[in-house]
């Protein structure tokens, strides 16, 4: 399978998983606070395609996509969202705490920016243990405004840590616009370069652009040159609800028509089609993926809840 077709397959999994989970949220009472990744799939898949399985990735509140793109187990994720025993955190974490250490996805936390120092710790351990592996931290544009993120950039540059910080700039922190949060002269690039890290900006709605620039930066990161990759990508759904929220009226640039025109999945599909991939192949991938996702949802619905006494377990190792 070509790399692009493989990327299409992965992005389709991320998209359909979120769509079907959103449907499930609308149908049933799922009590796990959720932030959907729809629209930003090119970032997680593009970055993950530039990593090895041994590399680490850590994420944030919107990490279903980061988890799946790194190879995280779909069944355990869906079970976790439904609060089931078989979930990746046995129901104690939920949507905002994705983890699958077997594929190097070593955790996600929803306190904005907090994952960046933690990811630096992963990179520190990789360097300390003299491996050639790297760590990726996924954060949003909102989290990138937290002080600890800038502190960590300095620490990473000082200690030459193999750390890549991916800022997914989806234009909003919840619904707050960038220009309501930053002076007009604010420049992520100048700040990052000023601290001493490498910087690239990618079109987060474009898989090719993301994965090419991620690969370029990661080759330096592997040699101890920490970097920031800023990806501007559209968040198609509401901040934290299984709905499309255009009626809220806060969106300016990323209105529905533009989101559909710039949709990363559609772009890859169109490219594959123009490069000679058959409609049938692409549709089959989509259908097979939906069947698989629906199967896992059905499995998770039937799966048992954790036993009541586990409320008290695992506070300490």
């Amino acid at each position: 399978m070509s790399k692009k077709l493989d990327a299409f397959k992965k992005m389709t999994l991320l998209r359909i998983a979120e769509e079907e989970i959103a449907n499930l949220y609308l149908r049933e009472k799922i009590m796990s606070f959720v932030h959907f990744y729809v629209g930003q799939e090119a970032v997680a898949v593009g970055v993950s395609d530039a990593l090895t399985k041994e590399d680490h990735a850590l994420g944030n509140h919107r990490s279903h996509g980061h988890y799946l793109a790194k190879g995280g187990d779909l069944r355990r994720m869906v079970c976790e969202l439904l609060g089931k025993e078989e979930g990746s955190s046995h129901g104690k974490g939920g949507s905002m705490h994705m983890i699958d250490r077997s594929v190097g996805f070593t955790g996600s936390t929803p306190i904005l920016g907090s994952i960046v120092p933690l990811a630096a710790g992963s990179a520190f351990a990789q360097k300390y243990q003299v491996s050639k592996n790297v760590t990726v931290a996924y954060i949003g544009d909102g989290a990138s405004e937290e002080g600890g993120v800038y502190e960590t950039m300095n620490l990473a540059a000082l200690l030459k840590l193999p750390l890549l910080i991916v800022i997914e700039n989806n234009l909003y922190s919840v619904n707050s616009k960038i220009l309501d949060r930053r002076s007009k002269d604010y420049s992520v690039e100048k700040i990052v370069r000023g601290i001493g890290l490498e910087y690239e900006k990618a079109d987060g709605n474009n898989y090719e652009d993301v994965t090419t620039k991620a690969a370029q930066l990661i080759s330096g990161v592997r040699e101890g040159k920490p970097a920031v990759l800023e990806c501007v990508a559209f968040r198609h759904m509401a901040h934290n609800a299984p709905i499309f929220d255009d009626a809220q009226g806060y969106r300016e640039e990323d209105v529905l028509e533009k989101r559909l025109a710039e949709d990363c999945l559609k772009k890859v599909r169109d490219q594959l089609f123009s490069e000679g991939e058959s409609e049938e192949t692409l549709s089959r991938i989509t259908e097979d993926t939906r069947t698989k996702v629906l199967g896992e949802i059905e499995y998770a619905i039937a799966a048992p809840y954790p036993k009541k006494e586990t409320l008290y377990t695992d506070l300490y190792v």
Binding site: S89, V116, G121, G148, T152, V317
Partner: protein, 347 residues
Amino acid sequence: MSEEPRLLTYTEALKEATEQALTADPSVFVIGLGVSYKNGADGTTAGLKTLYPNRVLDVPVSEDAFTGMAVGAAIHGLRPVVHHGRVEFALFAADQIFTQAAKWNYMFGGNNPVPVVFRINVGRQWGNGPQHTQALYGLFGSVLGLKVVIPSSPYMAKGLLASAIKDNNPVVVLEPRWLFQTKQAVPEESYELPLNKAHIVREGKEITVVAYGDGLHAAREALEHIDGIDVELIDLVSINPIDEETIQKSILKTGRLLTIDTTNASFSVGSEIAARALRMEGVTFKSTPKMLACPNVPCPTSTALTEEYYPTKIDIANTLRVEFNKPTLDTKLSFEELHLAPLTTIQ
């Protein structure tokens, strides 16, 4: 002729535990502001940078980042010892200590150890005022997922830090700066003390005194001024967990309780002990539980005001004397006793 016991100060004891951990386990490293100095971290890391240049790291003045990096390193297999010279600065890293390290294993459903040690200096020191003397014991004790110990002497400091570094959970070691120059016989070989057990310093039948840290030190000295009242003195050692079993056994015997805090009375450890004691099975009190603590104002700077602030050995002795209908003492403590950290050799 018996050999002279080997006396170490509190800070030397902490350094020895750290050095022995660095030697024993290559995954241990030390990180914090100034830990690489010749007399780093009040002497608690003195000389370690020379021995282990790549494992003793000075850092930018960025507590959130370096504390979080240490937590992340612990999550990914290392054993960091993080040093914060003042608790007020550690609070910059509150998210990483309270919300990340403390919750990590639970929120991922277990099997996710975070073997990090936070060494945090707390409490009184002359002239340090409202923003350099907080202890915040209650705050740390209230965060589930942390283990929290308060060494009361050099012997306790070495053994508790050794255990903290070996533990697979985040452990906060709150180190009262007031005790740094106290001395005690400390074994040279490595040893560990339990992180979850109170220690009975003196057995007695008439009243249970629960203290910790520098309050325990003052309580121990108060024993010389109580004319034979049969005190059971308990060094609490850990405020998370609190060793209820040891306290319960003691109060079942004595029926009386005095708690000593060297921080504000509100939300203090003493309040927690008294509240738990009142609910303990079979416990009936012969008199209302008593508490000594600092007043509910920040610690001021002027010695004219701070001499009223911390409970002294005479305050403790007099509280006990009143309890047992003995005349109170009006001993005046010297300026040095009131305001300068003790140089006492603890037996």
